[in-house]
């Protein structure tokens, strides 16, 4: 009951004209970003963060804009999967399997509309899940002391590699790099400068927005230059969209699938490190096992479109649970969103719910609103979004680069920051070539300081006794989970990745024949 009245308060905040317009803008931009192959939710949000700041938006409006972009990009990822057989982002990979065959059979419009509805169901149910689960998690989190928080941060880093990379050593290197970057600057506890080489620009530390935009957006530009993908526009293999509205019976026949996979995707999203890719993968595989009696999955079965889309959008909502309740993001994009919160001087975690309820509930209300807007946009306006695919990257990528520069320059007005950003872009390009995940780096720069502060506080409270870190059942549990989270992907990660690739390959073989 209390929850519902808080939610009602949230709607009062979210339903102002300014916030509604921002949500609309965010949904639109997000869907476009998601639809373009190569620009997923993380890049999309990363490019727009500096802009949200330079616009001087307050905390809640900025969050509303960027979460709308986030949800929009999750919706948009399916468009190029269905029309071109190129996933807009990794979670949309499974949507290619049945979406593209449907499009080839002249049912592109139906597939797009159905996947839009499935995205809505997944995200809508996940937002309810967030409302129910996050406050419960907050109750547990209020029992956390500094030692438990330190263990929790370790858990976040240990599990983040999970599906993102097949090599845990590389994940560890990435996390260490990020945390190392966070230690640059004046030490908050003692006031001693660290790793600044006497450079005054570095006393404030490295701005993580500069790091994020460089690593995600600029490295993408370098990848395009390297492969000269510039001319790879979609005009060559344009597919006609066909009938827009799926029949009621089709929606009804897919409803059980959507409900089941929403639940599954949400769970996958809540688990740290797993995220939307896992959500769409297990949703698809489970539905295939459960309902595919005639073996039509992979040949354009509508349920094969509904399952991964409901799953990945539910996972996107689920990933917000640990991010808001514990301050530990469950996926790459939520890590970027965490950056937004921190930059707005909002520290996510249990205290956020009690101290700044307007931010939390305003945000949750905005998620609902964004969802309805996206549903409304994605059915009648789908033709417009598909036209975005006609913009060739040789025009688009320079715009991405220049907008990144504008955003960072707008915040600081300093050429030094632009140079640092270029440095991060080069680093991101090399690391991506080497299959080193970028998300742990971002998470490290974001959480490094909080991690160190909790460590030092825990040990100082206990008069320098390091054993205090493993002194409570709660922290021991977290350490055990961290260990499992780090070791399990070494065993299963490779298998899972290989199977995802394999299924996609099989499918390509089948459609070419």
């Amino acid at each position: 009951m209390e929850t519902l009245s808080s939610l009602a308060d949230g709607f009062v905040i979210a339903l102002t004209w300014q916030n509604l317009l921002l949500a609309l803008l965010g949904c639109f931009l997000g869907t476009m970003m998601g639809a373009l192959p190569g620009l997923g939710p993380s890049n999309g949000v990363a490019i727009l963060i500096p802009l949200a700041f330079t616009l001087g938006l307050g905390a809640t409006p900025a969050l509303i804009l960027l979460t709308s972009v986030y949800y929009g990009a999750m919706y948009g990822g399916r468009i190029s999967s269905i029309l071109l057989n190129i996933p807009g982002d990794e979670p949309a990979m499974m949507t290619c399997l049945d979406g593209y065959p449907m499009a080839k059979a002249g049912r592109a419009g139906e597939a797009l509309a159905l996947s839009g509805i499935a995205s809505f169901v997944g995200a809508f149910l996940a937002t309810w899940g967030l409302i129910l689960l996050a406050p419960q998690l907050v109750k547990i989190a209020l029992l956390f002391g500094p030692a438990e928080y330190f263990a929790l941060f370790t858990l976040a880093f240990a599990t983040l590699g999970g599906v993102a990379s097949t090599n845990q050593a590389k994940t560890a290197i990435a996390a260490a790099l990020g945390i190392g970057l966070a230690t640059v600057g004046v030490d908050t506890q003692t006031g001693v400068p660290r790793f600044t080489f006497g450079e005054v620009h570095l006393y404030d530390g490295i701005d993580f927005l500069v790091a994020i935009v460089g690593l995600f957006a600029l490295s993408e530009v370098f990848l395009f230059l390297e492969h000269r993908h510039g001319n790879a526009d979609a005009a060559g293999h344009k597919v006609s969209v066909g009938r827009m509205m799926p029949s009621f019976s089709l929606i009804r026949s897919c409803t059980p699938t959507m409900l089941r996979t929403s639940f599954l995707g949400f769970i996958a999203g809540v688990l740290p490190g797993a995220g939307a890719s896992l959500g769409s993968f297990i949703s698809y595989t489970m539905e295939k096992k459960l309902v595919d009696k005639e073996g039509t999955f992979g040949t354009g079965d509508p349920r094969g479109v509904a399952a991964p889309e409901a799953g990945n959008n539910a996972a996107a909502g689920g990933a917000l649970v640990p991010m808001l309740a514990l301050g530990v993001p469950g996926s790459g994009t939520t890590a970027v969103l965490l950056a937004v919160l921190l930059a707005l001087n909002i520290t996510p975690g249990p205290l956020l719910f009690t101290q700044q309820p307007d931010v939390v509930w305003g945000l949750i209300a905005a998620l609902f609103i964004a969802n309805f807007m996206l549903l409304a946009m994605n059915i009648p306006m789908i033709g417009l979004f598909t036209r975005v695919l006609l913009i060739p990257p040789r025009i688009l990528m320079p715009i991405v680069a220049m907008v990144s520069f504008v955003g960072i320059y707008g915040i600081s007005g300093s050429s030094f920051d632009l140079l640092v950003m270029i440095g991060f872009g080069v680093m991101g390009w090399i690391l991506r070539k080497l299959d080193v995940p970028l998300v742990p780096i971002i998470l490290g720069t974001l959480l490094g300081n909080a991690m160190e502060n909790n460590l030092r506080r825990a040990i100082t409270i206990d008069n320098g006794n390091w054993w205090t870190l493993v002194d409570s059942p709660l922290s021991l549990t977290l350490w055990a989970l961290a260990l499992i989270g780090f070791v399990l992907p070494i065993i299963f990660g490779r298998v899972l990745k290989a199977r995802m690739k394999h299924m996609k390959k099989d499918e390509e073989g089948a459609t070419i024949d």
């Binding site: 802009l51 330079t54 616009l55 097949t166 090599n167 050593a169 590389k170 560890a172 290197i173 996390a175 260490a176 945390i179 190392g180 230690t183 030490d187 506890q189 003692t190 006031g191 001693v192 660290r194 790793f195 600029l218 530009v221 370098f222 230059l225 390297e226 492969h227 000269r228 993908h229 510039g230 001319n231 040789r394 025009i395 990528m397 320079p398 715009i399 680069a401 220049m402 907008v403 520069f405 504008v406 320059y409 707008g410 007005g413 050429s415 632009l418 140079l419 270029i422 872009g425 080069v426 070539k433 080497l434 299959d435 991690m451 460590l455 030092r456 040990i459 100082t460 008069n463 320098g464």
Partner: protein
């Protein structure tokens, strides 16, 4: 081989970081842990993970040919020049030049690149400066 080199770089970085951490000047006010301990833990993780990569590297990625390397290198140089000359040239001119270069190198014909680059610059200027009121670098011509 790429991974082994990466591992060696990581290891050197870990050693350098640890060395720099040991050289942090202690302040008279300090907590039980001090400013050195945490960086040393991170250096240890970085070092161990780097050794793991050296011992067990993945298959090498596909590196671009020398020509493509030069291509990416040239783009980086152009971006650095952009960052340095932005305050001198002003936003519109600097951005038009940089966007033209990138568009050209991504495979547009020279003349079309100039058009597209200029339009990109003017478009961003219109949206971000005129509509949204963002202050962008002013050049000698006032824009």
């Amino acid at each position: 081989m790429s991974d082994r080199i990466f591992g060696v770089v990581g290891l050197l970085l870990a050693l350098g970081y640890a060395w720099a951490a040991l050289n942090i000047e202690e302040s008279f006010l300090s907590d039980a842990v001090g400013p050195k301990a945490f960086p040393l833990i991170i250096a240890t993780v970085l070092g161990l993970a780097s050794i793991a990569i050296i011992v067990k590297p993945d298959a090498a990625p596909e590196w671009p040919s020398l020509m493509r390397f030069v291509e990416v290198g040239a783009a980086i140089v152009v971006m650095i020049l952009y960052a340095i000359f932005l305050p001198e040239l002003g936003f519109v001119i600097a951005t038009a030049l940089a966007a033209t270069y990138l568009t050209w190198r991504l495979g547009t014909r020279p003349l079309s690149s100039v058009v597209s680059g200029s339009l990109t610059s003017l478009g961003i200027y219109a949206v971000f400066h005129l509509v949204l009121g963002l202050s962008l670098a002013k050049g000698p011509l006032g824009f």
